[in-house]
Amino acid sequence: MSRVIHKFTTRVPTWRPHVTPIDYEQATPAQREALQETPSNTKISDYVLVLAHDPESLRIRTSLFNGIMYDKGGLAREERELGAVAASVVNRCIYCAAVHAQRYNNIVGDDRVMGDIFLRGKEADLDPRTRAILKFGMRLSECPPNVTPEDIGSLKEVGLNDQEILDLTLSTTLFGWANRLMHTLGEPVSGK
């Protein structure tokens, strides 16, 4: 039996869709083309098969997502993951938070930071740079988004340059996008 997960975790849940994923065998040419953008060595997930209802948007998604999270230079990989987690915590997207907290932990080789963020959110006990990034990401993810010259200043104070602030903005807001799909079109459940 599977049950819906409501608490933040680094154990990646199963995503159960509220909308019927498309049937690959019945897919239109536009849907098939969009699905070819996803890596061919992995089974196409239900999430991607749900998004395939809108192939024009789906065909751009993989390049944009991968570029924002992995393109070289600028903000460190783990700090991009931190932006993704900040958005996912505000939007309570348990699935995205789990995936990106786990990636952060794998890069830094320590699970203390994410454990504390999941437990205490903005009040987590973090080093100044990590705290500033988390706070910026969470304020930006609220509605209306909070971003003032002081918010930018607080990132510069801990050493981020314009490139790093742009990269943090892209990874944080990209997850505002992903959360709104993942958390509304389905839900995280335990087990298979």
């Binding site: 809108d54 024009e56 944009l64 930006l140 799909l181």
Partner: protein, 164 residues
């Protein structure tokens, strides 16, 4: 290619922010392509271009993003003076009960813009009950999700640009 976000945020053409954007020009181009897919799709399904522009304008107002509010206001006007007869672009206005489909969509737009954490299966169920098919549910979700991304990128760029 004219980039809607950078134009709306009035980004300076030189300086550290312009350099940072140039380094991510591929991503800004993909963002622009996503804008075209969400607002100007070749197959809009049951969500017309006019309705998409009106919803985007509504979201820009909710998020208090002046540059994109102006952009979406102009996009909507470009479809003619009768493009938004039900005032979907006006925050807090709701379509009448005689328009259950649009009323259900407006509820989703407002909830998922203001407080996505409170969305649940019942909100998707409400769209389905209003006779919105599954493809249109995904199209609507994609539009709302993209515009919320775009609004936040523009918000940061306009603050950063003003300081330079």
């Amino acid at each position: 290619m004219t980039n809607v976000i950078e134009a709306a945020a009035n980004v300076p053409s030189t300086g550290p922010l312009a350099d940072a954007l140039a380094m991510r020009s591929k991503l800004m181009d993909l963002t622009q392509a996503s804008y075209e897919a969400a607002l100007l799709p070749s197959d809009p399904g049951g969500l017309t271009r006019e309705t998409r522009a009106a919803f985007a304008c509504r979201m820009a107002k909710i998020c208090q993003q002046e540059g994109l509010r102006r952009h979406y206001g102009e996009l909507l006007s470009s479809y003619g003076s009768e493009a938004d007869p039900l005032n979907l672009a006006t925050t807090d206005s709701c379509p009448p009960a005689s328009e259950p489909r649009l009323a259900a969509m407006v509820s989703y737009v407002d909830l998922v813009t203001r407080s996505p954490k409170d969305a649940s299966e019942s909100d998707i169920e409400s769209l389905r009950k209003a006779d919105i098919n599954e493809s249109d549910i995904v199209r609507l979700a994609g539009l709302v999700a993209f515009v919320n991304y775009q609004l936040r990128v523009a918000a940061v760029l306009s603050v950063m640009g003003e300081a330079q």
